[in-house]
Symmetry: C2
Subunit: 77 residues, 2 copies
């Protein structure tokens, strides 16, 4: 079973990479772009047929490795 | 309006970073993890109230900057 996870920076945490992308997009003519924030995405394939159990495991992985909870949030989708 | 984009490596493209995460998770006791693939996530804030138009613009940005279509796929969510 494949579980999808998005890890994003918390509100208020500076994102210089996103800022650079926004400025580049503005320079390319996409003047309507106000802000870009970059995050990470993970496709985790777990050997579990029960979705609830698999998601619980992946949540545990997020807390222990995939996300830095001091500055990042995670969302299992 | 905030548009969310996920950029992932195409099937068959090697993902050493994902492999490293998988091995680390296995080593931490998550033995049921078969595969991890890492991708990128973008929150793009566009000055457009029309969702269809905003998504079209973001699709254009994906093709021109956010994704490398030779090795990556994008998905607007």
């Amino acid at each position: 079973m494949k579980i999808k996870v998005i890890v994003t920076l918390k509100e208020g945490v500076l994102d210089p990479q996103g800022k650079a992308i926004q400025q580049t997009l503005n320079g390319m003519g996409f003047s309507s772009v106000n802000q870009v924030r970059q995050g990470k995405y993970f496709d985790v394939e777990v050997d579990d047929s029960d979705e609830t159990k698999a998601k619980e495991k992946v949540e545990d992985m997020c807390k222990k490795l995939l996300a830095n909870l001091v500055i990042e949030d995670y969302k299992i989708i």
